[in-house]
């Protein structure tokens, strides 16, 4: 009986005295942290992807609370909605940015871009790019080893074994930009999401002269300038043997798409073209 009583007594007195010590230690070493950091952090997506340029969401929140000018801070994953929410907590105004999404500027699938050799080294685009031009005649296109898919924390990129190209899942892509940094060929671009996710872009990055590019890949941009001529808004530029459509200026009229002789201009999420009498008549005229 005595043993039990002593045990309870000793343990409880030990507990009380340690609690008292801890109380004073906590008072002495108290670190003040702005409670708003927690609030902002809660508003953020919490993916810790690093797309904002900070180590994680907490670091971003800290910077967001502490800096007076927040116009340069933006969470691409959460988008404007999250940013407004976070700004509301602090009574600041968040930078407004258009929603973007990653697009692959290469459409050289296996059957369109014949292989000329096979790479035997480490299965990494970075290694391959440091070693030589690539497995095909095109030294600018996708290398197909999937560094972008590895870099994507959201599982939005998967390599398609049939085409040898990565496929970007529009639902999952948060435009964090990790793939853009991971791609040694710099062919992934963050472009304006566009109304109803509709986008038009040149899906090629080949800066070789037309003939050489065409020989390496049947869907290469040859810089023939046809798209530039047909563009009513003069938003297509051709530099270094490569056409480029400015995503922020393109008005999605789609005139350039059928004009491209190599089908290098990609259009996404447009409804199929209505077969009007005019088009049918045009096709018949072509046949004749």
């Amino acid at each position: 009986m005595n043993t039990i009583a002593f045990t309870i007594l000793i343990l409880s007195s030990l507990g009380v005295s340690l609690a008292v010590i801890l109380y004073f230690v906590a008072l002495k070493f108290k670190v003040y942290e702005d409670p708003r950091i927690d609030h902002v952090c809660e508003a953020l997506p919490g993916a810790n992807c690093g797309g904002c340029g900070f180590a994680g969401c907490r670091a971003f929140a800290e910077s967001f609370v502490k800096s007076a000018d927040v116009s340069a801070l933006y969470c691409p994953v959460g988008g404007s909605e999250t940013m407004n929410k976070a700004a509301e907590i602090l009574g600041k105004t968040a930078a407004a940015r258009e929603a973007t999404i990653a697009v692959l500027r290469c459409s050289g699938a296996c059957e369109l871009r014949p292989r000329t050799n096979s790479f035997d080294g480490a299965p990494s685009c970075a290694v391959m790019s440091a070693t030589y031009a690539g497995e095909t005649g095109c030294g600018f296109g996708c290398l197909g080893k999937g560094d972008c898919a590895v870099s994507c924390t959201f599982g939005a990129i998967a390599m398609n074994p049939a085409t040898g190209l990565p496929e970007i899942n529009e639902e999952l892509c948060t435009a964090c930009g990790a793939c853009v940094k991971a791609c040694p060929k710099a062919i992934i671009e963050l472009r304006k999401k566009g109304p109803k996710n509709r986008r038009i872009y040149v899906a090629c990055a080949n800066r070789d002269k037309g003939g050489i590019a065409r020989k390496a890949c049947s869907v290469a941009c040859t810089a023939c300038t046809k798209c530039k001529k047909v563009c009513p808004f003069e938003e297509i530029t051709i530099e270094n043997n490569l056409a480029y459509i400015d995503g922020s200026k393109c008005r999605l009229c789609r005139k350039c798409v059928p004009e491209c002789p190599t089908s290098a201009i990609a259009e996404l999420n447009f409804p199929p073209k209505k077969i009007t009498e005019k088009i049918v008549a045009g096709e018949q005229a072509q046949k004749n």
Binding site: D120, G121, S124, A133, G134, D208
Partner: protein, 445 residues
């Protein structure tokens, strides 16, 4: 005792199949593509235009700065194009394309077979002449030779080391030069000594080339003039600059420093011959000896090739491309690069074209690292390749730098000795490039 470097190294089978094939000149034919950047440093600037007639040996592109090299036409004919041309790695680079018409050399080039032993020029004139002739190191790195002959102020070279180790398996171009052009080569060594104003030179040769050692020693028997032939143990990478210096002089080149910091200047034996030809015969660097070899190739060749000749033509001369070829390598099997474009032209520093049979050209299936540390034992630079690979894979560049990734000489000993077939060097090369980039940008600040 036979000298060698202290740490690491591997012993691949030397496979010198073409050792007995005498050097055969290849007559120019068709077109040649001459790159504007065949050296470390700034690419040369063209001084000819499309449609110009050029003679063999004529300057076609001028060095752009001190660390750069002149480029000369290797053939006579018409310039048909100055444009981007795919190199052996498929990368398009600026080149001058010349259509071959006859074989007319510049009159100033002395084409007589006599060996001119008397060195008339002063050291400064020699260096100028070497720079004019566009000579680059023929050991592989293609560093402009005149830069090495002009030590930075405050540093002096005490001895010259001539790299004749030829430690890469299969390669025999240096060996053939030593057996066939020994007299000229020794004059070249003496010219280099005069240019550097030094009295001592060592020619390091691996002991698997006894005929070359004997030949050079017999020539030096009467009058050595400070030149010593040093037999070296057959061990790869005996011909690595830092390894060679350590083996012969016992000195260590500090990390990040140049050989001249250890009082040594290293030149390749092929470079010594090119120097002789430039200084005594007025001939710029426009042709070099290329070994064409492979176990399944019908003929083993050592060819004297004009710069810019397509690789495919040289393979044709050696009996054509066998069906069973799995890989074509420009250079030796350890440090050479597998090529993706067979029509690519040779360059000044091309030493060999090596054809590997299908059965030996594929890498083994990689498995997990078993921490056997064979790569650590094999590394001649005392690095830890397994660690560097892991750091490079994870892009940990600060750690890579503190583990001296920039000291890697990319000799391939680690990957050669790895029982798990890990692509060690692939990743280390990647990490090294990034570390060097960071170091350079820091130095610029």
């Amino acid at each position: 005792m036979i000298k060698t470097f202290k740490r690491g190294g591997v012993h691949p089978d030397d496979c010198k199949l073409s050792a007995d094939a005498a050097i055969v000149p290849v007559a120019p034919e068709g077109t040649v593509q001459i790159f504007l950047a065949q050296h470390i440093g700034a690419p040369a600037v063209p001084v000819v235009a499309k449609g110009d007639k050029v003679k063999a040996g004529q300057l076609v592109a001028k060095a752009a700065g001190f660390v750069s090299a002149n480029i000369h036409s290797s053939v006579s004919g018409t310039v048909t194009m100055i444009d981007k041309v795919a190199d052996h790695l498929g990368v398009r680079r600026d080149a001058i394309v010349v259509k071959v018409e006859g074989d007319e050399w510049l009159e100033s080039i002395d084409r007589s077979p006599d060996t001119l032993t008397e060195i008339r020029l002063s050291p400064e004139e020699i260096v100028r002449k070497i720079a004019e002739a566009g000579i680059v190191g023929l050991g592989g790195a293609a560093f402009p030779s005149h830069v090495k002959l002009s030590p930075p102020p405050g540093k002096t070279a005490e001895c010259l080391v001539v790299n004749a180790a030829e430690c890469e398996p299969y390669l025999t171009s240096d060996y053939r030069v030593m057996t066939e052009h020994a007299e000229e080569l020794l004059v070249g060594v003496r010219i280099l000594m005069k240019a550097l104003k030094i009295r001592r030179a060592y020619i390091g040769i691996e002991t698997n080339k006894p005929k070359a050692i004997e030949r050079l020693r017999s020539l030096l028997a009467a009058e050595s003039e400070g030149i010593t032939v040093v037999p070296l143990k057959k061990k790869y990478p005996q011909g690595g600059e830092k390894q060679l210096i350590q083996a012969i002089t016992g000195r260590e080149v500090p990390s990040g420093a140049l050989p001249v910091d250890a009082g040594v200047v290293v030149h390749n034996v092929g470079t010594a011959l090119a120097v002789y030809e430039a200084v005594q015969k007025n001939k710029p660097l426009m042709e070099n000896v290329v070994t064409v070899t492979g176990k399944h190739l019908s003929a083993q060749k050592n060819l004297l090739v004009r710069v810019g000749t397509p690789v495919s033509r040289l393979i044709e001369i050696a009996g054509g491309l066998p069906e069973s070829t799995g890989k074509i390598i420009l250079g030796g099997p350890m440090m050479g690069k597998a090529i993706s474009n067979i029509d690519a032209p040779t360059q000044k520093s091309t030493s060999a074209i090596l054809l590997m049979h299908e059965s030996e050209s594929r890498r083994g299936q990689p498995s997990a690292c078993i921490r056997c540390a064979r790569c650590v034992t094999a590394c001649p630079m005392s690095l830890e390749p397994y660690l560097l690979k892991r750091l490079a894979e994870r892009s940990m560049f600060d750690e890579l730098e503190s583990n001296a990734a920039h000291d890697c000489i990319e000799c391939g000993c680690c990957i050669y000795s790895c029982p798990a077939n890990l692509p060690l060097l692939d990743y280390i090369r990647l990490g090294k490039a990034e570390v060097l980039k960071r170091k350079r940008s820091r130095a610029a600040k």
